[in-house]
Symmetry: C2
Subunit: 441 residues, 2 copies
């Protein structure tokens, strides 16, 4: 097999076989094939697209470039959730404890860091003093076996092909392909050895997929790919046209999660988290229906079992469990400033990406991969879409440590709120659509 | 300007500006941009295509990556011919002397070597003992000033961007783009400092562009690109569905050229050569009409002036001029074998690429760039399309030095002849079409 012939094949819109795709991925991972040939292949794949079989073969080849975890000796099904990323999207921190607290199903979760205007689960967890996301795979298994959930970052053993390919895509204009995105996400998630996977595919101004059609396309692709690999799959297309919940910023979001597990907090965050948990229970065969799963998730909250499981998780991964009862032990920013409404009317829309960027500019996210994040800073929303504001009402609070670009942040936030005399006739739903795999009834 | 943004722009089918294309080419030539980014760009350019303005900008940027010759101080117009490559295509060796012999116009010709199943002018010239194609640019100018023609290979000073880009295209599946082919050819040819250029774009089973539509597309692109750069341009779409003339093989082709300049030889070779010369005379303003140019070219042959000019050229570039009167001084293969017809009928077609490959397998061409060629070996056709053969008639002769893969060569040649009971109703013309630049009336 000649690599250049395979590049030409894809370039000419012909379908590659499983063997040909494995040849490309394994040769690249081993260092045999140079970057310049693979980047030409990636561009051809981006423009020509991949078939379902090609996408699954690429995912599988990337998955098997590294270690694939096997938790089949642990009792019960293993399930996980993956979100394509958004602003204020903190559901993972609640989902793991809720699902694990119910018993009979466990959650081995490997997460990522924030990138661009979006936050990342690892950064949020690290806002808890002492919390260690860098467990070895052996420690990961131990924690999972003991408490039913464990939360870590990607290790070098997991899908090394993805790591190499992602770096190359980043500098060659080959990021924005649903096929390559699918293979990247799914190769990492399926390395977790789960039986079922719930996807939270965001759409709206704060999502990577701004249009619903793009989000649905990616969701269907991921569901199909997971199914071809024998996994139970469901994808929820959910709204990211405004931040989820009220807090944006790592420690602020941990605090909001704790509040939620106490039965308080924002309705959108609560509903979406419960929906995602209910599907995880259902795919993990913990409940017979999704509705039953919803009630079970609610019960884990009201009974305090989820909060206890979170406490357990923090403790076993080296964090300070007292943050749960004393949130003041979380990092706090030195200063707080208020953003006021300049006009009276309804909040008709929010530019969610702009709010995410404001958070990054405060130091709460990364502009480059190498940047470190300030866990304390962030934004707390006081008004969201649909609410009425008087002039000078508080729109949101900004928690900051440095006023280096504070004016720009305040301007961004001010401009992110669209205030008008009438509400839109059709408000956007929280859950736009549910896409189920064929094996999911 | 960020290179990755320009890659994304081309990827998304948006047009790049002249400045953006110059940025890419100069950054790559200087070594600033890595191969892996440029190969992604080349793949995007191949699939998305380039506009006329983009193609001209790319050609210009590649042209100006090196030295651009200027012969405006020499009297008369400078013209050249370029062929996209074929089998038995030896017209350059006759054209240079014919045009130079007429005086008042000169031919600074930079040629290439054979690649794939096609032959190359430099390899043919080097079959003449002592002939030196590696002149410096200063020597090139001297020879041109003295005798009105000079024939050399590409030097490191000419279009270095093309050399670098071509090597990358070769291994990344980005060769087959009319836009990139056009920029590659034209950047080298325009570095010759010519006022007019005649293109011989081949089509048929022995051409790189098998379909006439592809040949016409490339021809129009090159004519348009040359015109945008102020050159007089004409392209002839000519037949390469069977070899041109009878000889295939370097020394054998030199011998055929000498014969032709003596007024003998194959009709197709004679007609095409005269046509190409007539257009060069016309573009070079040496004659007022193309027809007048045709008669002038004929006269250069019948008067013996062309052969004398060829003798002069060989001598001044270090070759043995006695080969003209004693072709036995050219290299000859040790053995000759005959390929016989297995059936009676008309030669209705020839697989021209197969005949080219047979020549390469004998050692007369290159399978890889680094290969050396055997000047002596080759094939002499005894029958061509349209002729009637009896069973056991001689189809062609094979001149060889090694019988390593002789059986395969003979099989290839046998199978390249298609013999049937009837001739095709519409025989292919030698010159399919003439495409003139707007400035050429």
């Amino acid at each position: 097999m000649l690599l250049v012939e395979l590049i030409r094949k894809k370039r000419d819109s012909r379908e590659l076989t499983r063997e040909e795709i494995e040849f490309i991925v394994s040769g690249y991972t081993s260092g045999e094939f140079p970057d310049y040939q693979i980047s030409a292949f990636l561009m051809a794949a981006l423009i020509r697209g991949l078939s379902g079989a090609e996408t699954a073969a690429l995912t599988q080849a990337m998955l098997h470039s590294g270690q694939v975890l096997d938790f089949s000796d642990l009792p019960g099904k293993k399930v996980d959730k993956h979100s394509t990323g958004g602003v204020g999207d903190k559901t993972s921190l609640v989902i793991s404890p809720v699902v694990a607290a119910a018993g009979g199903v466990s959650v081995p979760m490997i997460s990522g860091r924030g990138l661009g205007h979006t936050g990342g689960t690892l950064d949020k967890l690290e806002a808890i003093p002492g919390f260690n996301v860098n467990l070895t795979l052996a420690q990961f298994r131990d924690v999972l076996a003991k408490i039913g959930c464990a939360m870590i970052g990607q290790t070098a053993e997991v899908a090394p092909a993805d790591k190499k390919l992602y770096s190359l895509r980043d500098v060659t204009g080959t990021v924005e392909s649903p096929f390559l995105i699918c293979a990247s996400i799914m190769s990492k998630k399926l390395a977790e050895g789960v039986d079922g996977l719930v996807l939270d595919v965001k759409t709206g101004s704060g999502a990577f997929m701004k249009s619903e059609a793009d989000a649905v396309y990616l969701a269907e692709l991921m569901v199909d790919t997971g199914e071809r690999m024998g996994k139970k799959m469901v994808a929820l297309i959910t709204d990211m046209d405004q931040p989820l919940g009220n807090a944006i910023g790592n420690a602020l979001e941990v605090e909001e999660c704790i509040e939620m597990m106490r039965g308080k907090g924002a309705e959108d965050l609560r509903v979406l988290t419960l929906e995602l948990c209910s599907w995880m229970f259902y795919l993990g065969e913990r409940t017979r229906t999704v509705l039953e799963g919803y009630h079970l998730a609610e019960e884990m909250i009201t009974s305090g079992k989820a909060l206890n499981k979170f406490r357990e998780l923090i403790e076993i991964q080296g964090g300070d469990p007292q943050v749960i009862d004393y949130p003041s032990r979380l990092p706090h920013a030195m200063h707080r400033v208020t953003v006021h409404a300049k006009a009276e009317g309804f909040v008709t829309a929010m530019d969610c990406e702009r709010i995410g960027i404001a958070g990054v500019m405060l130091g709460g996210g990364r502009q480059k991969k190498e940047d470190s994040v300030d866990p304390a800073v962030g934004i707390v929303l006081n008004r969201k879409v649909g609410q009425y504001v008087q002039k000078n009402d508080t729109l949101c609070f900004v928690h900051y440590n440095s006023d280096a670009n504070l004016d720009e942040v305040l301007g961004l936030l001010q401009s992110a709120y669209v205030i008008g005399p009438h509400l839109p006739v059709e408000p956007r739903p929280l859950i736009h659509r549910v896409i189920k795999g064929k094996s999911v009834v």
